[in-house]
């Protein structure tokens, strides 16, 4: 068992919480997510050109970089988190360039040292797995892949090949943010994915309210929330932890009732 597989072996679907590293007091914000009941933490690595993100996460990237966040800072945040929370899985999510800048082996080793469990790289599809995947696997870090509404049945095996941890289903063809897919469409898509893999399937993009989270949790193994949490970091700054904990608790409570 790994930290990640434990998180998905709980009696309720996992709540996966995303915030951007270096956007405010990240240690305090992460602690608030854990206190609120988050099962998995996704820590965004800021990048100047977040092409797959909508305005909320774009702004978080810019706030973080504007505050001078470096790759070393992100790794330090992860290292400190691991010391405080030995059992909560932590995933780094971001774009290829900051991850491969010093070479994939360097990044994989540094992430492993920091206690990172998995990596989601938005712009490395299976076709370019060589750029990072082998280095991550060699260090026991799960390369977590994305499946989307455009990932057809013919392509899915290639997406699953070499992926680990869980499968992240991006429920809308689009960028992170406000738009949301219909629950029926999500149910159907998750059903197809689960028929094709033993990996847990977590669903994200556009989930903002506990009601939406509960509707997804009725079918998926996990619910990912990003922009709604990131918006709180942006709006409340120093005061964000209390707000993050509040929203996380509400999401987790809703998820726990979803299959009752």
């Amino acid at each position: 068992m790994t930290r990640l597989s434990n998180a998905f072996a709980k009696p309720h679907p996992a709540f996966v919480a995303f915030i951007t590293a270096g956007d405010g007091d990240t240690a305090a914000n992460l602690d608030a997510l854990v206190t609120g009941g988050a099962d998995v933490i996704e820590l965004g690595m800021p990048f100047t050109d977040p092409m797959a993100d909508g305005p909320a996460i774009q702004s978080a990237n810019l706030r973080s970089l504007g505050a001078g966040t470096t790759t070393a800072d992100v790794l330090q945040i992860a290292t400190d988190f691991r010391a405080r929370h030995p059992d909560v899985p932590l995933i780094l999510m971001g774009y290829a360039n900051p991850m491969v800048r010093r070479g994939p082996e360097w990044f994989a080793a540094a992430a492993a040292d920091a206690g990172v469990d998995g990596v989601i790289c938005v712009d490395i599809p299976p076709e370019e797995d060589d750029a990072l995947g082998p280095a991550l696997r060699a260090k026991g870090i799960a390369p977590i892949r994305l499946a989307t509404p455009t990932t057809d049945a013919a392509r899915l095996p290639q997406v699953l090949e070499g992926s680990a941890g869980f499968l992240y289903y991006v429920s809308v063809a689009g960028i992170t943010g406000k738009q949301q897919a219909a629950t029926a469409a999500i149910e159907e898509a998750v059903g197809k994915l689960k028929a094709a893999t033993d990996l847990p399937v977590a669903v994200g993009f556009g989930v903002r309210t506990p009601e939406q989270a509960a509707a997804i949790a009725a079918h998926a193994d996990g619910v990912v929330v990003g922009s709604a949490l990131v918006d709180l970091c942006g709006e409340f700054g120093e005061e964000a932890p209390a707000k993050l904990e509040e929203l996380t608790s509400a999401m987790v409570a809703a998820i726990k009732t979803a299959r009752a």
């Binding site: 990048f47 100047t48 050109d49 977040p50 092409m51 797959a52 909508g54 774009q58 810019l62 970089l65 470096t70 790759t71 774009y95 290829a96 360039n97 900051p98 991850m99 491969v100 800048r101 938005v122 712009d123 490395i124 599809p125 076709e127 370019e128 750029a131 892949r145 994305l146 499946a147 989307t148 509404p149 455009t150 990932t151 057809d152 392509r155 997406v159 991006v170 809308v172 063809a173 689009g174 960028i175 738009q179």
Partner: protein, 405 residues
């Protein structure tokens, strides 16, 4: 597909879109199936004589090709060295080489049944060319342009609007070309079902770099035949400016296996390569991944992308097409960089010696030509791609020269 010798420089990329270690398809999963579909459709179009016939017909009767090959007699005299010849792609409809590629891509878009076109633009030349072909074929068109560039290229913004395009100013990041490209990619992932993204240079995910190069290769193919018929031999040196690298590849690619033809790509050195204020990705950057491909990028030690600077909005992109990264590493093409100041001198030199007002982008190439011609013999031939005309730049130039308009 290519009948080139095994050691050819003309058989890149491989079937995964890699030029050596560069290129590839570094895109989000949502786009990946679409990119694969695009490649299939492009291969089918390449094998279809009707597609080539339509492309050629539009280039001849709509764009005005072949563009002339011109011997610049007074410039040659003024420089006192090698003969300088120009491939006159500034005489194309819309005033630059960009239209060659737009014709090819819109035909492909229609072949794929796409009903909406998007594009990014820096100087506005690619935006104008895209808006033009969209008007010609009656397709709605959204152009993403950095807010900064909207301000400094207002004539082109108005042109695009006249042509019926919607111009969306992009305020994220540094509000220039790379941010416009980010926004184009964001639009595309959200509208994959009906939208075709016409990328304006030989960069982006495979098959774009190869496809744009092939559409632009009409430049070099024509020039090679024209040179052989006019001068009875091939040129000694090819010169072209480089933003993303499409006009340079268009000229260079058909000559890559002519071992005696040397090639020089000219990047924008802005205020100088020693500082941060330049746009020379090859000479002042390092390999990395951005906008769907692995290539040389302007970036810091953490892989954050830095803003390029050039007097020319068409050159200040922090990346470069992956084939140039490969041509540099293979040593086949030499690359140099020219400052804002030198480009401005090149601009004025051409105005006065030849009666041609060039765009600021090829003015960089002119400066490099001036430099090289002097070191070469009078029997030697330089062929430069005069890839754009300068109407769009007169306001910028007036400001730099301290002239009130």
């Amino acid at each position: 597909m290519n009948d080139t010798p095994p050691n050819s420089f003309r058989n890149q990329p491989d079937d995964r879109g890699h030029f050596g270690e560069f290129g590839g398809r570094y895109v989000a999963e949502t786009l990946m199936p679409l990119i694969l579909d695009l490649e299939r459709e492009y291969r089918a179009a390449q094998a279809d004589p009707a597609f080539a016939a339509q492309f050629d017909d539009l280039l001849e009767h709509y764009v005005g090709r072949p563009s002339p090959l011109y011997f610049a007699e007074r410039l040659t005299e003024a420089l006192g060295g090698a003969q300088v010849w120009f491939k006159r792609d500034e005489l194309n409809h819309t005033g630059a080489h960009k239209i060659n590629n737009c014709i090819g891509q819109i035909l492909l878009a229609m072949r794929m049944g796409k009903t909406r076109i998007i594009a990014e633009t820096g100087a506005g030349q690619h935006g104008v060319a895209t808006a033009t072909v969209c008007a010609r074929f009656g397709l709605p068109c959204v152009i993403y342009m950095g807010a900064e560039d909207v301000a400094r290229q207002s004539p082109n913004v108005f042109r695009m609007k006249l042509l019926g395009a919607e111009v969306v100013p992009v305020t994220s990041g540094g509000a220039t070309l790379k941010d416009a490209m980010n926004e184009g990619l964001r639009d595309w992932v959200a509208n994959v079902h009906d939208t075709f993204y016409i990328i304006g240079t030989a960069a982006g995910p495979h098959p774009y770099p190869e496809m744009v190069r092939n559409f632009q290769s009409v430049i070099g193919t024509e020039a090679r035949a024209q040179m052989l018929s006019r001068a009875g031999r091939l040129p000694d040196l090819l010169v072209a400016c480089i933003g993303g690298g499409s006009n340079a590849l268009g000229l260079f690619h058909p000559f890559l296996d002519d071992a005696d033809v040397k090639m020089l790509g000219v990047e924008a050195a802005g205020h100088g390569l020693d500082g941060d204020e330049h746009a020379a990705s090859l000479l002042g950057g390092a390999p990395g991944v951005l906008h769907g491909n692995k290539t040389y990028l302007l970036q810091d030690e953490d892989g954050q992308i830095t803003e390029g600077h050039s007097i020319s909005a068409g050159l200040d992109y922090p990346g470069i097409g992956p084939e140039h990264a490969w041509l540099k590493e293979s040593g086949r093409v030499e690359y140099t960089a020219v400052t804002d100041k030198e480009a401005l001198e090149g601009f004025q030199l051409l105005c006065r010696t030849e009666g041609i007002i060039p765009a600021l982008e090829p003015s960089h190439a002119i400066a490099a030509v001036a430099d090289r011609a002097k070191t070469m013999g009078k029997e030697e031939i330089i062929l430069m791609n005069l890839c754009g005309r300068g109407d769009k730049d007169i306001f910028t130039v007036a400001e730099k020269l301290g002239v009130e308009m």
